[in-house]
Amino acid sequence: MASSANEDVKGSTGDEGHNSETKDEEKKDDSIFECNICLDTARDAVVSLCGHLFCWPCLHQWLETRPNRQVCPVCKAAISKEKVVPLYGRGSTKQEDPREKVPPRPAGQRTEPEPGTSFPGFGFGDNSFHMSFGIGAFPFGFFTSTFNFGDPRPAAAAHGTHQHMEEQFLSKIFLWLAILFLTWLLMA
């Protein structure tokens, strides 16, 4: 399981039998997810801004024990309840709701990604740009897919199936839409 490089790093003292050694290594693999307070696998895990991992109940009790001196139990950097990040591993939702335990774990903060910067050189904003693009591109997209009757499409469904009928129906709608659009263009 552990790579040979890992084994080198871990370098056990070698007195024990091989079996106990492998077991040891498996344990050490887990140990990076150990809470720095109870030394057990972290439950309701939170991480401080300095990067140290704890169970939330453990860290909470530490902060309660010394309300006037809130420091990281590992590196003594300043920490606070508001500035710890909860870790949600996959499958963590199966565990019981952490809010039912006292104290509740602080929630994760989720900021939306920053919107991409618009092109100031064009002289118009995001909205109008999208609008014009939409009107310009969409109908022609319909054209290409609707009027390509000659090309055999690779994933065309077999005749007679339900899916085939649906596709037929859809392409008819698109055809009518395209015709309507064309007439609208001619009238305008």
Binding site: T13, N36, I37, C38, L39, D40, H52, C58, Q61, W62, T65, R69, V71, C72, P73, V74, K76
Partner: protein, 199 residues
């Protein structure tokens, strides 16, 4: 929650036993009861100090609130050091008080105590008499600390001059520890030590 203390000591105990410091005989931990609340620690006197060659035994009491509060540690082996009481073995060390952090372990505590033996802090003393001697007459302090190490910690450096002075006081009917304390406190001036003992 009391359970977390026992759980942790159990884990730490394994960690210390496996640690390389144990392999080098620098530190040692022993359990004294089944519920992991009382332990016996041992540290080797660091090299190039008056404590070199000595072995110092510590009493470790684990509070129910461990690791949120530090373990209570004191020296059982009598020692001459500015930050350790020569009478009670009480230790003045910040990490055993307000600088304690919950991620510290028995191993880090023992290593910190070993470091304290290498680097005394006479400006924050536990034993005022020792601290004064350390600041006023470092050589006298080192001689005294070395002699305490030989008497109580199995240190190799027996000072025959000190030994004979103690013997003279013991011959007068004084307990040998009392004689050592009096002589140590008066820079091995036997007249002043006698005066203090019999006044």
């Amino acid at each position: 929650m009391a359970n977390i203390a026992a759980q942790r000591i159990k884990r730490e105990f394994k960690e210390v036993v496996k640690s390389e410091e144990v392999a080098k005989c620098a530190i040692k931990v022993e359990l004294l009861n089944d519920n992991y609340t009382e332990l016996k620690g041992e540290i080797a006197g660091p090299p190039d100090t008056p404590y070199e060659g000595g072995n110092f035994v510590l009493e470790i009491r684990v509070p129910e609130t461990y690791p949120f509060n530090p373990p209570k540690v004191r020296f059982i082996t009598k020692i001459w050091h500015p930050n350790i009481s020569s009478v009670t073995g009480a230790i003045c060390l910040d990490i055993l008080k307000d600088q304690w952090a919950a991620a510290m372990t028995l191993r880090t505590v023992l290593l910190s105590l070993q470091a304290l033996l290498s680097a005394a802090e006479p400006d924050d003393p536990q034993d005022a008499v020792v601290a004064r001697q350390y600041k006023e007459n470092l050589e006298m302090f080192q001689l005294t600390a070395r002699h305490w190490t030989s008497m109580y910690a199995g240190g190799p450096n027996v000072n025959t001059d000190c030994d004979s002075k103690i013997k003279r006081l013991v011959d007068m009917g004084v307990d040998d520890h009392q004689a050592l304390v009096a002589l140590s406190s008066y820079n091995w001036d036997i007249e002043r030590a006698t005066e203090q003992l019999f006044s």
